[in-house]
């Protein structure tokens, strides 16, 4: 009698599979029957009978008892138009009732969405670079892999001229167009008195078709004639005003007259051809530069980019494979040693995938920025969503009673769920609307900082789809807790006020997850603060770096159109009395120019790198830029022998391994072949990137120069000096526009990339902190409200305002400190990685961490204190009297 429990397996089967509605009674009945069979026919029989009968009440044999239908519930759909209208009405009333929370909620979400959208648009712009050119998917640049010292290196943005001819002749069926071009070149484009130094290109006749220029006037054809030119719209406007530019004559470099045959829409910033204000026939470049004649059949002279458009039925891989060996047979043995391998670099890859290692594309700097900003955008958005979720869960407690009453008067769960969801959908849609406005307002500023021309993609259906989908997703995510958890509560319990004790576990997990989310928010915020501070520190460090020369009052002029009158101009300028010195150089001061190998000196060992920066200057250069000698002397105009003299910088001295370099001989193989004597050593001058080591550089006064450097007298103001300089120029070279650049401004441009990172990062950081604090503010106020009674009792029992303030703030301070503890090592890790890429970099200092920690804590305390002090000062009588 005692062991008359039914077989366990069968019983288990029953509990698992039998419908829940009738499980209890069936379980009881079968148990009773088992006992009956056991007593009548013994255990084995009973077991078999039990098993059989259990099977008879399992699906599919069993009939389900239909739940009793309440007469009120019939035909209640939670998604009828009337109900939806009601949900929205209630949602709207709730929003307007709690104005502060609504503002925090919607504002925070809108700001987060706006940041994400800005970054999203920026990334979209980066990814769609060059798509202005309609056939971008078939356009490529001809480049090559070469082997140097056993390493495969990729380059050759410029190719030899005959390669273009060869591609067209031997592989013509692979291409629609093969276009030889120059790199962007600066020339004076003039029409009458209007003259401008402009960057443009000389390209073969198919270029307008390849680039699919959008013609404003004229046609794409016509570059076959030698003396023609196409102008960008802006340049045409500048030259001719509103007049018709077609068939007008413009002068290039004050020498050649050409006819305008077309005007094209300016190429956008998001094109690699953006700096093309004019396109002239490639052959014209030859008549402007005599050296081009020699390049025509020289396979060793890599001076011209080649752009191609492949035939519609080909792929880049196929064509690359065919033209791979196009160069090799034509090269002299010495050049052929590098085994150049020609390939096509597709236009869609130009912008983000142009860094190669071992012949393969690797993550480039721009790609890293795309990822970097992408992550930041995601984080800021996440912060906003967390806020939204946190505030709605916190607020949901107050609404438990509402749920109870609604259920008591007959709401079904589905209705409550849809009500809460429609509320969060409403909030996120309103936020999305505000976000669009914010983005529209921020775009001009953002474009200026990021150097972009981004617009909101109003007409792009995919953009809308993504945005709406995202807003809905946010709404569902943050609305899901109240929607699904609260709607499940028992009305009796909530109305009795048993909510917090009755469902303690649910409530605790909500509080715990909220804490985790706050920690997460502040981890991100703190990490962003640390990061931004370090970026600025790095910029500051580079800015304070001693540059080795004096940039102030130094102007540089391109010598376009000077036509050998440099000395006359120099004398004229000196005569104005406002100029301290005039010098010439092959490159502007803030550009390190070219580099060359093939140098030899006493004590050179094969392992020494003989790659030096090489700059041709005039004898007065040193005085103009104010370089500082470590040893030896400057060039002198009086000594003719100085034309075979050299001045080197300290880095070069070290690279050559010379202790006493003065008087040593240096032989040059390639660069201005000859033997030189070292006259002096100057301190390193930071001409290229201020974040990198200074390159070993040598200066010579032989050869041609391209830039004139003018040092204004230190006692004369620029304002007074400039008109006099202009007058002096006009008397000698009236055809040349008075175009100049300030050396210090040019130098400042070198920080552009880093300053952009700094500006954007600090913008995002401020927003991240703002959003986090909004959330904290809301949360703190809920905490204070929830504990109103507790605070009242504490005050009655004699707690001071200070104690209560501490009671309420403590928790948040703890959370922020936890966040700080997580953020510090994370930020340190990523920052030290980032700084590694700069040769000249700062060390992350402890006070950045300390400062950001204290900063975050202060902000937190300020945010929370407002609420906690308010709560602490309330008269306990008031807080205890209610209810």
């Amino acid at each position: 009698m005692k062991s008359m429990t039914p077989p366990r397996f069968a019983h288990w089967l029953l509990t698992q599979l039998h419908p829940d509605e009738t499980l209890e009674e069936v379980e009881g009945d079968l148990g009773e029957l088992y006992t009956y069979w056991y007593e009548r026919s013994g255990k084995i029989q009973a077991t078999l009978w039990y098993l059989l009968n259990v099977v008879s009440v399992l699906p599919p044999f069993v009939r389900r008892r239909k739940p009793k239908q309440s007469p009120y519930r019939q035909d209640v759909s939670s998604l009828q138009p009337t109900m939806i209208r009601n949900y929205l009405k209630i949602a709207w009333r709730n929003l307007t009732k709690n104005k502060v929370y609504s503002v925090i909620n919607i504002g925070g979400l809108a700001v987060g969405m706006a940041v994400a959208m800005l970054i999203g648009l920026w990334i979209y712009d980066e990814l769609t670079f060059n798509q202005y050119h309609q056939n971008y998917s078939r356009i490529a640049q001809v480049m090559r892999h070469e082997w140097f010292d056993g390493k495969k290196e990729t380059g050759g943005q410029s190719s030899p001229m005959p390669l273009g001819t060869e591609l067209r002749a031997a592989f013509g069926d692979e291409f629609d167009y093969v276009v030889l071009s120059t790199k962007p070149v600066n020339y004076i484009i003039a029409s009458g008195d209007a003259k401008f130094n402009q960057s443009g290109r000389f390209m073969q006749a198919d270029a307008p078709e390849l680039l699919t220029l959008r013609m404003v006037q004229g046609s794409r054809a016509g570059l076959h004639d030698l003396n023609t030119i196409l102008l960008a719209e802006t340049l045409a406007k500048k030259l001719f005003g509103d007049g018709n530019p077609i068939n007008r004559i413009v002068t290039i470099d004050t020498q050649v007259n050409v006819k305008v045959i077309g005007v094209y829409e300016d190429l956008p910033i998001s094109s690699d051809f953006r700096e093309t204000a004019y396109i002239a026939p490639f052959r014209l470049y030859g008549s402007l530069n005599s050296w081009v004649k020699d390049a025509r059949d020289n396979w060793g002279d890599n001076s011209f980019p080649i752009y191609v458009q492949i035939a519609p039925n080909k792929t880049f891989e196929q064509v690359s494979a065919r033209i791979k060996g196009a160069m090799l047979p034509h090269l002299k043995a010495e050049k052929a040693a590098s085994k150049p391998e020609v390939f096509l670099h597709p236009m869609p890859n130009w912008h983000l995938f142009s860094t190669f290692e071992n012949g393969l594309s690797i993550t480039s700097e721009p790609m890293k920025y795309v990822l970097f900003y992408g992550v930041i955008g995601l984080f800021v958005l996440l912060l906003a969503c967390i806020n939204f979720t946190n505030l709605s869960t916190a607020r949901s407690e107050k609404r438990a009673k509402e749920v109870g009453i609604r259920k008591a008067v007959g709401s079904v769960r589905a209705q409550l769920t849809s009500q809460f969801l429609s509320e969060s959908v409403l909030v996120s849609m309103v936020a999305f609307g505000i976000c669009l406005g914010l983005v529209q307002l921020a775009l001009p500023w953002f474009n200026r900082v990021a150097d972009k021309q981004i617009v909101i993609l109003w007409a792009n259906p995919i953009f809308w789809l993504v945005c709406i989908a995202f807003a809905l997703f946010t709404a569902l995510l943050s609305g899901s807790y109240p929607a699904f958890y609260l709607s499940s509560l028992q009305p009796v319990q909530t109305l009795k006020g048993l909510y917090s004790s009755g469902s303690l576990s649910g409530w605790h997990s909500a509080v715990a997850s909220r804490k985790v989310l706050v920690v997460f928010q502040f981890t991100i915020s703190t990490a962003l603060i640390i990061g931004t501070a370090s970026v600025y520190q790095q910029i500051q460090l580079a800015k304070n770096r001693p540059v080795g020369y004096d940039r102030s009052g130094l102007l540089s002029f391109p010598e376009n159109g000077f036509l050998g009158k440099e000395d006359v101009i120099r004398n004229e300028l000196l005569r104005t009395g406002v100029v301290a010195e005039v010098a010439e150089s092959a490159y502007p001061l803030t550009n390190e120019g070219s580099n060359n190998t093939g140098f030899d000196w006493r004590g050179k060992t094969p392992s020494m790198n003989d790659d030096f920066g090489t700059i041709r200057i005039s004898g007065e250069y040193g005085k103009a830029v104010g370089w500082q000698f470590v040893a030896g002397r400057d060039f002198s105009r009086k000594l003719r022998s100085d034309s075979s003299g050299l001045i080197i910088n300290e880095s070069a001295m070290k690279a050559m391994g010379l202790q006493q370099p003065i008087g040593e001989q240096v032989r040059s193989e390639h660069w201005q072949k000859g033997t030189y004597t070292i006259l002096g050593v100057v301190k390193d001058m930071v001409m290229a990137s201020p974040f990198e080591r200074v390159r070993p550089t040598i200066f010579s006064i032989r050869g041609g120069k391209r830039w004139m450097l003018v040092k204004i007298d230190a006692h004369v103001s620029l304002h007074a000096a400039l008109p006099k300089l202009e007058a002096a120029f006009k008397t000698i070279v009236p055809d040349v526009p008075f175009d100049y650049k300030f050396a210090d401004e040019e130098y400042a441009l070198k920080f552009a990339v880093e300053e952009r990172i700094g500006k954007l990062a600090s913008f995002f950081t401020i927003l991240a902190i703002f959003i986090s604090c909004l959330g904290l503010f809301g949360l703190a106020s809920f905490m204070a409200e929830r504990r109103t009674k507790e605070i009242g009792i504490r005050k009655v029992l004699g707690a001071s305002a200070l104690t209560i303030w501490r009671l309420l703030s403590e928790e948040f301070v703890l959370l922020v400190l936890t966040a700080f503890a997580i953020a510090t090592p994370t930020a340190y890790y990523f920052l030290s990685n980032w700084l590694q890429k700069y040769e000249y970099h700062t060390h992350i200092s402890w006070w950045v961490f300390a400062g950001s920690g204290i900063g975050t804590l202060t902000i937190t305390l300020l945010t929370v204190s407002y609420q906690s002090i308010k709560a602490a000062l309330v008269n306990p009588v008031k807080s205890l009297r209610s209810e």
Binding site: T22, E25, N53, S56, V57, F61, R63
Partner: protein, 112 residues
């Protein structure tokens, strides 16, 4: 004709519920069925029939108190409704009328 059709087995089960007079639930109905008719059916058959009868409105049910021998589980007790008893009576009456119509000879012949 009647709106609801009562099957043969359903009729028997309904009769059992009536016999048990408020004490009818899964176990007692099965046992009574076996005792009075000698039919041994699976519990599922009885269970399903009871549910069906309830859906048709011939019986009502409520959950009764649990007993120790059932491990404290409640039982679902069935009771015949007015509709149910009328249905039974109508069947009974119909049968009687039909019996009246049988010529006495027929049954005697087949009986011998």
């Amino acid at each position: 004709m009647r709106r609801t059709y009562l099957g043969e087995f359903e009729e028997v089960v309904l009769l059992m519920v009536a016999i048990l007079d408020g004490e009818g639930y899964g176990v007692t109905v099965s046992q009574a069925l076996e005792e009075h008719t000698g039919r041994i059916v699976t519990f599922g058959t009885v269970h399903n029939t009871l549910i069906r009868l309830e859906e048709k409105g011939f019986v009502t049910s409520e959950l009764g108190g649990g007993t120790a021998e059932r491990g404290g589980r409640r039982k679902r007790l069935f009771r015949v409704t007015a509709l149910g008893s009328r249905a039974l009576q109508e069947i009974q009456q119909l049968r009687q009328e039909l019996w009246q119509l049988i010529p006495p000879k027929t049954l005697q012949l087949s009986g011998s």
